[in-house]
């Protein structure tokens, strides 16, 4: 199975957000427009396999071997493992520290439990990319749109070309002397 991909949503994609607003349930009072969670094809809904009948819940901290072995966990692996975030009883949801279940669409609530300052900044629009109008509607991104929750460190990019050096700037045609 392929690992979840975390690419930047296109601007067209962001434009679809408005439609999702009313349709999404479990939204907190903030009413923050976000794109849909970037699930991998064919993986969600998880309850297809994790239906509670054929696969029994195993709360033992271990390295997964039979499935999901391709997921590299680099998110505080000494103190954290899968079921700290994924709800053991309903794999189509996440759970907070209190045990309360939340939808994937508001995963930022979960991230914010440990990364409170980032959440506060994110809500203010100061953490992470936010587009839209400075005096009107704005579009947020989910934490997971930029940060792979299993390995959240922001990945390096290939830089765009450097500027032309001043001595390389010349008159175009034969020009003058």
């Amino acid at each position: 199975m392929a690992t979840p991909s975390f690419s930047m949503p296109s601007r067209r994609g962001l434009g679809l957000l408005c439609c999702l607003l009313g349709a999404m349930s479990g939204l907190r009072a903030q009413d923050i427009q976000v794109p849909p969670p970037p699930f991998t094809e064919g993986l969600f809904p998880c309850t297809v396999c994790h239906d509670g009948k054929n696969l029994k819940v195993n709360r033992q901290r271990r390295e997964l071997k039979d499935m999901h072995g391709d997921i590299v966990l680099k998110h505080g692996p000494e103190s954290r493992w899968c079921l700290d975030c994924h709800d053991p009883l309903d794999r189509d949801r996440l759970h907070l520290a209190s045990g309360e279940q939340i939808e994937f669409t508001v995963s930022y609530e979960l991230c914010g439990q440990c990364h409170g300052e980032k959440l506060r900044d994110w809500r203010a629009g100061v953490h992470g990319k936010r587009t839209g109008s400075w005096n009107g509607q704005k579009q947020y991104l989910l934490c997971v749109n930029c940060h792979n929750p299993h390995s959240p460190h922001f990945q390096p990019l290939k830089p765009m070309p450097p500027p032309v050096r001043p001595d390389a700037i010349q008159a175009r045609k034969g020009g003058a002397l």
Binding site: P166, Q170, A171
Partner: protein, 415 residues
Amino acid sequence: MDSPRAFARFAKASLGHIVHGNRTYYAWVGFLLLLIAAGSAAYLGQLREGLIVTHMRDQVSWGFYIGNFTFLVGVAAAAIMLVIPAYVYDWEPIREITILGEVLAISALVMCLCFVLVDIGRPDRFWHILPLVGRLNFPTSMLAWDVIVLNIYLLLNWFVVTYLLFCSYTRRHYVKAIVLPLVLFSIPMAVSIHSVTAFLFNGLAARPFWNSAILAPRFLASAFCSGPAILLVLLQILRKVTSLKIKDEAIFKVAELMAYTMGFTLFLTFAEVFKEFYSGTEHLVYTKYLWFGLKGHLTLVPFAWASVGCGLAAFLLLLIPATRKRWATLNLGCALIYASVYIEKGMGLIIPGLTPDPLGEIYVYTPSLTELLVAAGIFGVGFLVFTLMLKVAVPIMLGELTSAPGRPVSADHHP
């Protein structure tokens, strides 16, 4: 003879005198016209392609043209080196040659205006800088001040020279009440043109190398020692080729004043260098680039040391009476002073002020062929203006060119 008709005759006679001369004259003028032609051709290329044909770029946005402009403003200001002893101290030997200093000032100012014109990106929009017709940002912009004072000084000198020559031509007494105040006014005007030019550099906080309080005094000191250098050489030539009498005394006195001002210039340079190296702040990079190079870029270093070396040698040659009063060493001193200040105003002022740029980048600027040719053309223009004015002025001063030959020359006929 009524004045407008007399003036028309004066103008016609002057023109007639300009187009006639001996072979040397024609050769010299021909050479200057050749320079001007070469410069014009290069400038046409610049007009067509834009300033990209120079080697100026965003990182070093002023270069050879502005360096020459700055130097020539100094030369123009230096005319008062003759005016002060002549009129303020009433020293007769220099009186008769002050007009030549003013002619030099006019030529230098013409060159200044030309250098500004070739440096701006849109010379077709030159009228934007005219007050009333355009929009002159006075008094906030120092460039606006410079436009005003340079033009006032030009008009002043042009008026005084024309008036004095016209009076000599018609063998009339010049009206002291007109001339003396104007000539005395030209002293603060001369100081102002170079101070304003200095202020336009040192008012920029973005350029720490320029943002120094002693920039204006440095400009004045270096102007007063270099400007007369050309004049001293010229006076010796004029003495040889015409019957113009110029006392040795006058020449030696000017040379002596040049020595003192060069000494002061050297002191001010040392003061700047001391302040930068001793306090050793981040601003040291510019001074370091000039005198010792930065990150392997040593382009300016030989020029910096050559400038100070020539200056020191000239100082000694002109200070010591034995060498000052010997023609060979006097002329050598003049050449050295001219070289020293010319290098310092171009390489030693403009480039280190802009290198490294505000974001730390070092772009090594050297003038392009276009810039050199255009500058040569402008110097051709300046020397031509100088030559043509002298071609008229000297005969008038000698009484050879006059509307009333045979009339006795009055005692205070000489300006």
